[in-house]
Amino acid sequence: MSDGNVLDNADRRDFLGKATAAVGAAGVAAACWPFISSMNPSTDTLEKATTEVDISGIAPGQAQTVSWGGKPVFVVHRTAAQIDAMKNSQGGHDPQADAERAKNPEWLVVVGVCTHMGCIPSKNDDGWLCPCHGSVYDNSGRILHGPAPKNLAVPPVKFVSAEKIVIGEV
């Protein structure tokens, strides 16, 4: 028995009950956030997102392995001959142009984890050979033959100066 314009007691309490429950639920959800957020990488771990590499000591034909986010990364200073050979091929069963993979052709930076089962390939003159199951990669890190399905991954790289590159981005 209610006047159409005014809520009677029962409706008013119901509204208060529903509103309180909603405000409470929002509070509980907000209270969960710090717990969930705490499991994300801490501020010092986030620094591992990028790795600075001093490339001034790497002569042409040489390569250096650095750690980036816990993974090995090959930094290769390619010779002119190697660059030419790579420019003129598309790789193996995962074709990709060399220019896409090495924006600065003198330097190839690839993640040193075989795309088959995750072993670290060994360097040779023509590229890499994975000792675990025999995958063969060229000097652009592209899979030529073997069980690995894809080319070696290319991380984001910034050439900060002639002596320094930064792998990864914040």
């Binding site: 717990f35 957020s37 705490s38 499991m39 994300n40 801490s42 501020t43 010092d44």
Partner: protein, 414 residues
């Protein structure tokens, strides 16, 4: 939809009947005051401590070389790590505030009497588990006070005749508090809260068997019970809101209130801080420990001061229900006891010099004296009250059952 799912479950598991019987329709005295909120609050603090504790354990390292640094890592680098840590450290103190008020409510209304003796004893078991958990947890940050507090207290077990030294060695796993001690305290600190959860379940099963006592001190008729939901669910949540306001004021604006300055210094086995004192919630017991000059006597007195609460259902020999509500002498004893515990707390916080020493000894005497006098005072008080004439509510109750004993005057008058 929901009712269909529930119906499916109910055919296989007594979910809705259980919730109805133990929560929604559960009969509760209508006159419960806010002093009855503290059991629920204790449960809430337990859950929050376990939650924050588990997330802290994701970053804490229980190794003497890493522990202090790992706590700083949590405070500075982990997202909201500072918040988790402060909730956990403040929560430990909050736990004891809530528990002590909860116990005080039981003492005031003498709810430990038949049929609630098991509630009292399971509650005591819970308190011992919580004290052990807090003591072990305090070592984990590996600060100066953490280390030296653990060193002093583990030393005390050496008073055990014959095996004292072996026991201390066994407890510590090392000649003094060291890495072995830290690791095992961490393992047990993580375990005990789950033992506490089990003990809480037993405590609640006991409660649901005998039902809540109430501030009037006498059992109410069934018509005076109301369903737990919605009356006491909303009252518990409101009480929780008030509690959270006070708790969050500490966590966000005075988080250092419960962290000793000396604990911001990494533990150094070669340097003792100027005074070693436990956290505030252990101070009265610490005062009793120091009040007895002999070490074995002090340890025995301290242990007794915690365990002696167990005798209350027997020591309090009154036939008058309701505790301090009806009984004037008991009420005075209660308030005296509370003041005495506060004095002991003060004594425990001060270096044992000057007037503090005799004050602590007097307060210890009063503490144990209360328990020893209670059997006599309770009996005398009942006699005195009956001679004066009992209040009408009690008379009505006693009409239904005979008085516990005939008073000599009644015998003579006959």
């Amino acid at each position: 939809m929901v009712s269909r799912v529930l119906g499916w479950i109910d055919q296989r598991f007594p979910l809705t009947p259980f919730i109805k019987h133990e929560l929604t329709d559960y009969p509760t005295p209508r006159n419960l005051s806010y002093w009855w909120n503290f059991g629920f609050l204790a449960g809430f603090v337990l859950v929050l401590q376990i939650a924050t504790g588990i997330f802290l354990a994701m970053y804490y390292k229980p190794d003497v070389n890493l522990a202090f640094d790992s706590v700083q890592h949590i405070m500075r680098d982990v997202n909201y790590g500072w918040l988790l840590r402060y909730i956990h450290s403040s929560g430990a103190s909050a736990f004891f505030v809530v528990i002590y008020v909860h116990m005080a409510r039981t003492l005031y209304y003498a709810s430990y009497h038949k049929p609630r003796e098991l509630m009292w004893w399971t509650g005591q078991g819970l308190m011992l588990l919580i004290m052990a958990t807090a003591f072990m947890g305090y070592l984990l940050p590996w600060g100066q006070m953490s280390y030296w507090g653990a060193q002093v207290i583990t030393n005390l077990f050496g008073v055990t005749p014959f095996f004292g030294d072996k026991i201390v060695l066994w407890l510590r796993g090392d000649f003094s508090v060291g890495d072995a001690t830290l690791t095992r305290f961490f393992a047990l600190h993580y375990l005990f809260p789950f033992l506490i959860c089990g003990a809480v379940v037993i405590h609640l099963v006991a409660l649901h068997t005998v039902k809540s006592s109430n501030p009037s001190g006498i059992s109410l008729a069934d018509k005076d019970n109301i369903p737990f939901h919605p009356y006491f669910t909303i009252k518990d949540f409101f009480g929780l809101g008030i509690y959270l306001i006070i708790f969050c004021a500490f966590v966000f604006f005075r988080p250092g209130a419960f962290i000793e300055a000396a604990n911001n210094i990494p533990a150094n086995p070669l340097v003792t801080p100027p005074h070693i004192e436990p956290e505030w919630y252990f101070l009265p017991f610490y005062a009793i420990l120091r009040a007895i000059p002999d070490m074995l006597g002090g340890v025995v007195a301290m242990a007794l001061s915690v365990l002696i609460f167990a005798i209350l259902p027997f020591a309090d020999r009154t036939g008058i229900p309701g505790g301090a509500h009806f009984r004037p002498a008991y009420r005075i004893m209660f308030y005296l006891f509370v003041v005495d515990v506060l004095i002991l707390g003060y004594v425990g916080s001060q270096p044992p010099l000057g007037f503090v020493v005799p004050l602590g000894q007097v307060a210890t005497f009063v503490y144990f004296g209360t328990f020893f006098l209670l059997p006599f005072i309770s009996k005398w008080e009942e006699r005195w009250m009956r001679a004066r004439g009992l209040p009408p509510e009690l008379l009505a109750l006693f009409e239904q059952r005979p008085p516990r004993e005939k008073l000599p005057r009644e015998e003579v008058a006959k």
